[in-house]
Amino acid sequence: METDQRNGAHVEVLIMIASTEKCMHCGACVGSCPKNAIFLNEIVLEFNENCNKCGRCVRICPAGALKMEAKK
């Protein structure tokens, strides 16, 4: 597991994972994201650097296609 050593603290680095099998391309995550950090079209679902791993999209995704995990 990677750690982030900013401020000398060991913090888990979280990453967002989108399941392309489950995603229904509905955009619920995009419109709900407080940081406007998600790009979605019919093919791609990407998080940009503004994502602060708040996890709201994980709960909101109607398809259960999003996960937040510790970076391995």
Partner: protein
């Protein structure tokens, strides 16, 4: 390839197409871009609309995009009390269930006939600004990056509402103002073929289950749950599946299509225009916070936006001041009701299943002449004054 327009509309839903049509009609050079490969698909809607809403936006009914005329609505309480509202009582507010994949194409076709250009498979990825003025959008067309310049950009990008936020208008939502939805189009159902049904209470925390008839034994069977009530990923689908399993009229059905989506149930945006930018439809958060309906509001806002843009083209002025008449027009038509229904939604969330049962039971025995949120509240007040204490300010 032409990349300079008077108006670039991002999103070819009903609000975008209405804007494009009315602006083009008044002589604007209009481009409408759509990220999908097909307008109106995939569906992200329960497809209910009221006829009065279409009329107000000047959209004549075309049978080709009407799925079903409904006779009324059934409001079902958690304990199974049923309150029927027939169309006459609802003052034309019930209306019809659309075929959105045809309706959206018909609206876009009207925009094309008025002179608008349409590009598919073209995603906006950012706005281009010059100081405090929006002067265009960065887009990806079939994977190729390009810059489109415009006198005015129209944010018609729906619930996502990214264009406004890129430009600096904050349309982000609280979790308590977002409803997450899941819907099946189902066949072999035993529900009523001409009534829209709404089931409220803990079956759909903070939202409702709907059954909107789509002809014969088919219907859109869906659910909306308030995002602040969701704990686990994919929970909204689990709520819907549980309800379908429990209702024998639904459990005999099979799905033909599954869709998902987010709906704002918030107050409308504080700002709908800035220099070179105008917000229409869902992106401006003008969905009814009680019903989650946004088609009629989107059409109306689009009509106003297109008309104002036509005048701006003539005056060659797309400043915030020049666009402001649009803000005034849609607020005059919609703002009071949106605020009132948002406040009513906030109260609705606090009601227990037991209270909802009492309310629906009361309504079922009261004859309400013309159904509206206002009249419903008055009817409840007569029988259960204690229930309306908190709603008093809304009456």
């Amino acid at each position: 390839m032409k990349t300079d327009y008077d108006v670039v509309v991002v999103g070819a839903g009903p609000a975008g197409s209405m804007t494009a049509k009315h602006a083009a009609k008044k002589g604007a050079r209009v481009l409408m871009i759509e990220k999908r490969q097909e307008i109106g698909a995939p569906l992200r809607c329960a497809e209910g609309v009221n006829k009065k809403g279409l009329e107000k936006a000047g959209v004549p009914v075309d049978r080709r995009w009407v799925s079903t005329d409904v006779s009324g609505a059934k409001l079902v309480s958690p304990g199974g009390h049923v309150f029927r509202i027939d169309e006459k009582q609802a003052g034309n507010e019930v209306g019809m269930v659309l075929e959105r994949h045809l309706f959206d194409k018909a609206m876009a076709a009207d925009a094309a006939r008025a002179g608008a250009e349409i590009w598919l498979k073209t995603s906006a990825v950012d706005v281009i600004k010059d100081g405090d003025k929006v002067v265009g959008v960065k887009a990806m067309r079939e994977g190729e990056p390009l810059k489109l310049t415009a006198g005015c950009v129209v944010a018609a990008d729906g619930f996502e509402s990214q264009v406004a936020r890129w430009a600096g208008i904050d349309t982000s939502l609280k979790a308590a103002d977002i409803t997450t939805c899941y819907q099946y189009r189902m066949a072999n159902l035993k529900t009523e073929p001409d009534y829209c049904e709404f089931v409220i209470g803990s079956v759909a925390p903070g939202g409702y289950v709907w059954v909107f008839p789509k002809g014969d034994d088919t219907a859109n069977v869906g659910i909306g749950v308030l995002a602040s009530n969701l704990k686990k990923p994919g929970e909204v689908k689990a709520y819907l599946d549980a309800w379908i399993k429990k209702d024998p009229r639904l459990s005999c059905g099979q799905p033909l299509e599954a869709i998902a989506g987010g709906v704002s149930v918030s107050p409308p945006v504080e700002r709908s225009v800035m220099n070179g930018l105008i917000l229409v439809g869902d992106s401006a958060r003008i969905i009814d916070p009680i019903t989650g309906g946004g088609i009629a509001n989107g059409l109306l806002a689009g009509m106003h936006a297109g008309n104002v843009l036509g005048e701006c083209v003539e005056a060659e002025d797309f400043s915030e001041k020049a666009l402001m008449p649009y803000d005034v027009l849609w607020r005059n038509d919609l703002e009071d009701r949106l605020w009132r229904n948002w406040m009513a939604k906030e109260k609705f969330l606090t009601l227990s299943d037991k209270t909802l049962d009492e309310v629906i039971e009361t309504l079922a025995t009261v004859n309400v002449d013309k159904m509206s949120v206002h009249n419903i509240l008055i009817a409840i007040k007569e029988r259960h004054p204690e229930l309306v204490k908190e709603f008093e300010e809304l009456i």
